[in-house]
């Protein structure tokens, strides 16, 4: 998956989890930029992304991301892992 594809997947999932079709994400977006992206919605976003991308984040990673770009980085790394 290319970074743009991952970002598109994330946008789709965040829209669903916060119930707002107007959400637009960039790599510098943070949870504070999206109304409704709280710690519980974050779990839905993380597990939704895992399902869509066929990956599983490490437990400690889940709350470690500072912005969307860091989630995209982690997804790329996990997709490359054997």
């Amino acid at each position: 998956m290319r970074r743009e594809e991952i970002l598109a997947v994330m946008t789709q999932i965040v829209r669903r989890e916060v119930d707002d079709e107007a959400v637009e994400l960039t790599e510098t977006s943070t949870s504070d930029d999206v109304l409704g992206w709280d710690s519980i919605a974050h779990i839905g976003i993380i597990v939704g992304v895992e399902e869509k991308c066929g990956i599983t984040f490490e437990p400690a990673q889940i709350t470690s991301f500072n912005n969307v770009g860091e989630i995209v980085d982690a997804i790329e790394r996990l997709k490359r892992a054997p």
Partner: protein, 212 residues
């Protein structure tokens, strides 16, 4: 059997060590049931039949870094009679998120949405606890036949002894008078006077230093 005799024969160890000793790879349903009973409101948010919940707790144990990954148990003649889980307050958010994600992965998308929606309502009524190195007691439970014998007290003192000279933190349901009374008898007090939360924070201060 007398309470004193029960205490004498019970020993404390991590559940992972107990599993190794007994050559078990998975969490015993009885232990999972004990941990579930320590936080019924949380597990009630999972839209699955009660009989599925024990397996869900066991799954949290199997994933590292969750709230249920590192229980300590009180073992008597091979039987777990009490269990507790604690970790630094600074790990609370990460462990709760990892544990909730471990459960969410087991659910369908519809079940997950309902589970997270119920948790979201609950989260708003939980009094926050500041991150620190002091221990947070996430679960503490004693099996029915071994209650009122000092086993929960023994677990609390074990946690205090293992943690050195520092305070202890926990959450309690504001309506759970027996639990609040028990914690008060063991040196805990409400962390704040704020009565708005359905789940309140309690704190036991660090013991006074005996150094001259």
């Amino acid at each position: 059997m007398s309470a004193a005799h029960d205490r004498d024969r019970a020993r404390l160890l991590t559940y992972r060590q107990a599993c190794l000793d007994a050559d078990k790879a998975r969490m015993d349903p009885q232990v999972a049931g004990l941990l579930q009973s320590a936080l019924p409101e949380y597990y009630a948010a999972i839209p699955r039949p009660v009989e599925d919940l024990v397996g869900i707790v066991a799954a949290q144990f199997e994933v590292g870094g969750t709230e249920c990954s590192d229980p300590t148990v009180l073992l008597r003649e091979g039987e777990v009679i009490a269990a507790a889980i604690w970790f630094p307050c600074s790990e609370l958010k990460a462990r709760q998120s990892a544990g909730t994600a471990a459960i969410a992965r087991l659910l369908t998308r519809e079940e997950r949405a309902l589970f997270l929606s119920r948790l979201s309502s609950r989260a708003r009524s939980v009094e926050p606890i500041e991150p620190s190195a002091e221990p947070y007691i996430a679960r503490i439970a004693v099996s029915r036949d071994h209650r009122r014998q000092g086993n929960a007290e023994r677990l609390i003192e074990h946690i205090a002894a293992r943690s050195g000279i520092c305070g202890l933190h926990l959450h309690v349901a504001a309506h759970n008078e027996p639990a609040i009374s028990f914690y008060r008898k063991n040196g805990f007090a409400f962390a704040t006077a704020d009565k708005r939360h359905e789940t309140r924070a309690m704190h036991r201060p660090a013991p006074a230093s005996t150094a001259d």
